[in-house]
C-alpha cells in the first residue's frame, strides 16, 4: 500500500516538490503558514489542513521544507507540531537546510516517541525542484531510508543515503561551502578580468572549455557577465547557509579560511541591499571594494 504523504512548507522549493508527489499519485495533506500558497496544490487534489499536527494525523510520511532551524523546531516540536499528531512508526523527512546538531537532537526527541526522522536537504534550486531533478542527501537509519526512498525519487534524481542522522545536513553544508567558495572565486576572477580591461564574457566563454569550468561559472558566471541580478537564488540564503557552515567548522575544530572570507562578504552583501537579489551580486561587492561605482 502506498504511504500517505504530508507536506509542510510550500515556498519556492516546497511547492513544486509537493506538486511532483501529487503528480506521482500520492495522497497528499499539506499545511502552509500562508494558505494562499497551498491553493495550487488543493486544486490538484491535496487536502488542506489547519496545522502541522493535522497534517501529521493524516500522514505516514511528512516532509518539511522551511527556512531555518527555529522554523523546523516549531513545525516538528511546537504546540501544534508534527510530534503531537504522528503515530509511532511514521517518518518526518526534513528537506530544510539546518545545522546538523539540531537535526540530531530532533531525531532523538522523535525517536523517544517511536517516530523516525530523516534529514534530506536538497540542492538544485527552483528549477531542480520543478523538474524533479534535485540532489537529495539523506541522513538517518538505513531501514527508514529504504522505506522513504521511492518517495524521494519522485522529487530528486540523485538520491544518496550519506549516513546516520545529521549526515545529510553535513553533506549539504559541504555542498554550500563548495558552491559559495566557487562563487567567490568566479566573482573575483571575472572582476579581475574586467579591471584588466578584458571582456569578462569572453573570459568566461574561454574558461568554460577548460579545467576551471563549473556549474557555478556557467550559471552564476553568466549572470555576473550579464549583470542580471534578479533572483534566482537570493543572496540571503547563502548568507544563512554559510553561517551554518562556519558554526560547524568552529564546533569540530577545522580552519576553512577561503569559506570564511566568502561568508564575510555575504555579511556585507546584506548591508548592500543584496539580501533578496541574486547571489551572483557578489561580483559587485568585489568590484566596489576595489573602487568601482
Amino acid at each position: 500500500m502506498q504511504p500517505r504523504i504530508g507536506f509542510v512548507g510550500l515556498g519556492v522549493m516546497g511547492r513544486p516538490m509537493a506538486q511532483n508527489l501529487l503528480k506521482a499519485g500520492y495522497t497528499l495533506a499539506v499545511y502552509a503558514r500562508r494558505p494562499e500558497t497551498a491553493r495550487v496544490l488543493a486544486a490538484g487534489g491535496a487536502s488542506l489542513t489547519g496545522s502541522p499536527r493535522e497534517v501529521a494525523r493524516a500522514s505516514d510520511i511528512v516532509f518539511t521544507m522551511v527556512t531555518n532551524t527555529p522554523d523546523v523546531e516549531q513545525v516538528v516540536l511546537g504546540d501544534d507540531g508534527l510530534i503531537h499528531g504522528l503515530a509511532p512508526g511514521s517518518v518526518v523527512v526534513d528537506c530544510s537546510t539546518i545545522a546538523p546538531g539540531a537535526t540530531r537532537r530532533m531525531a532523538e526527541i522523535l525517536r523517544a516517541r517511536g517516530i523516525e526522522m530523516l534529514d534530506a536537504p536538497v540542492s538544485g534550486g527552483e528549477a531542480g525542484a520543478v523538474q524533479g531533478t534535485l540532489s537529495v542527501m539523506v541522513g538517518g537509519r538505513p531501514e527508514v531510508y529504504a522505506r522513504v526512498r521511492p518517495v524521494l525519487e519522485r522529487i530528486g534524481k540523485t538520491v544518496v543515503h550519506v549516513g546516520e542522522n545529521g549526515a545529510g545536513q553535513v553533506a549539504k553544508a559541504v555542498n554550500q561551502l563548495i558552491l559559495v567558495t566557487t562563487l567567490e572565486a568566479c566573482a573575483e576572477g571575472l572582476a579581475l578580468a574586467r579591471r584588466c580591461g578584458v571582456d569578462a564574457g569572453k573570459v568566461r566563454e574561454a574558461l568554460m572549455g577548460g579545467f576551471a569550468a563549473s556549474r557555478v561559472l556557467d550559471v552564476m558566471g553568466r549572470r555576473m557577465v550579464e549583470e542580471d541580478y534578479d533572483p534566482g537564488v537570493e543572496a540571503r540564503w547563502h548568507w544563512k547557509d554559510m553561517h551554518i557552515v562556519m558554526g560547524l567548522a568552529a564546533e569540530v575544530g577545522l580552519a576553512i579560511p577561503a569559506a570564511s572570507v566568502a561568508a564575510q562578504n555575504y555579511n556585507a552583501l546584506m548591508s548592500g541591499g543584496g539580501a533578496k537579489r541574486d547571489t551572483s551580486l557578489l561580483v559587485k561587492l568585489i568590484e566596489r571594494a576595489g573602487g568601482a561605482a
Binding site: W239, H243, V252, I256, S260, A263, Q264, N267, L269
Partner: protein, 294 residues
Amino acid sequence: MERIGFIGLGIMGRPMALNLTREGHGLTVWARRRESVAPLAEAGARVAASPREVAREADIVFLIVSDTPDVEQLIFGSDGIAHGAARGSIVVDMSTISPATTRDLAGQLAQRGIEMLDAPVSGGETGAVQGTLSIMVGGKPEVFERVRPFFQCMGKNIVHVGPAGAGQVAKACNQILAAVNIEGVAEALNFAIRAGADPRKVREALLGGFAYSKALEVHGQRMLDGDFKPGFKIRLFQKDLGIVLDSAHQMGLALPAAAMVAQHFNAQMGAGEGDLDGNSLFRVIDRISAAKEL
C-alpha cells in the same frame, strides 16, 4: 552601605571577589562548584545556596561566567537572581556575552524594576589578581555612579561607554583587536625566523617604532620563549570571537581578518590546543608551513 553579592568564582571571578572583600565590603557569594567558594569563605564571605539567595542578600550582584546561556540561566533560571532581587537593586554582568542578548536581559530586568549594567573586563587573570582590569560599562549613568566605587576595587581603567549593551560592544572591539594583533605578531615572528633573522632582535627593533604594540611586547616575548601557558585560553578566545562574528553576521558587516583568526582558533581546537594561551596562534602559523612531508 550597599550589600554586595558575587556569582561565578572561576579564574577571573575569584580574584575579583577577593579584591572586593579586601576593600572591606561584606560579600555573599555563590558558585556552581562548591570547592570554588572555599577561598572566599575563608576571607569572610557568606556562602549562599543559590543565585536567588545571593540576590536576596545583596543590593548589587556581580556575576562573571562563561557564556550567554549561563548568564541567562543565572538571572532568569528557576533559582535565578531575578526571583530574589528587590526593586532598585542592580545586576552587574561582567561576563563577555552578546550585546543583543545583554540589551534583552536589561529590558526584561527593567520591567521588574531591577537595574543592570554590562561590565565586561579585559586584562586577564593577572589584571584580576592585581585589581588592574579594564572595565567597559554599559547602562544608565546614575546606576554606573552607584557601582563605580566597587569597580575601582577590581579595575583601573573604568569607562562608562554608553547605554545597555555598549560595554559588550566595547569588549567585542577589544577581542577583534586582540585577536588580529596577536595574529600579526605570530605571522611577523614566523617570517623573521624563516627568513633567517634573529626574531628576538627583530622584536626589539620593532618595539621602538610604529609597529609597537602590547601584543608584540608581551605575547611576542612569550611566543619566542615557547611559553604558551594561559592567560587567556584559546577555547575562550574562540568563544568570544564567535560572539563577535555572530553579531557581525546579524549586522551585515564583513570582518575578514577577525574571521581568519577565528579559523586559526578552530584549527587549534581541532589540534587539542584549546587550553593553551592565545599567543599559541604562533604554533598554527608555524605548523601550516612546517618543512615536513605532507
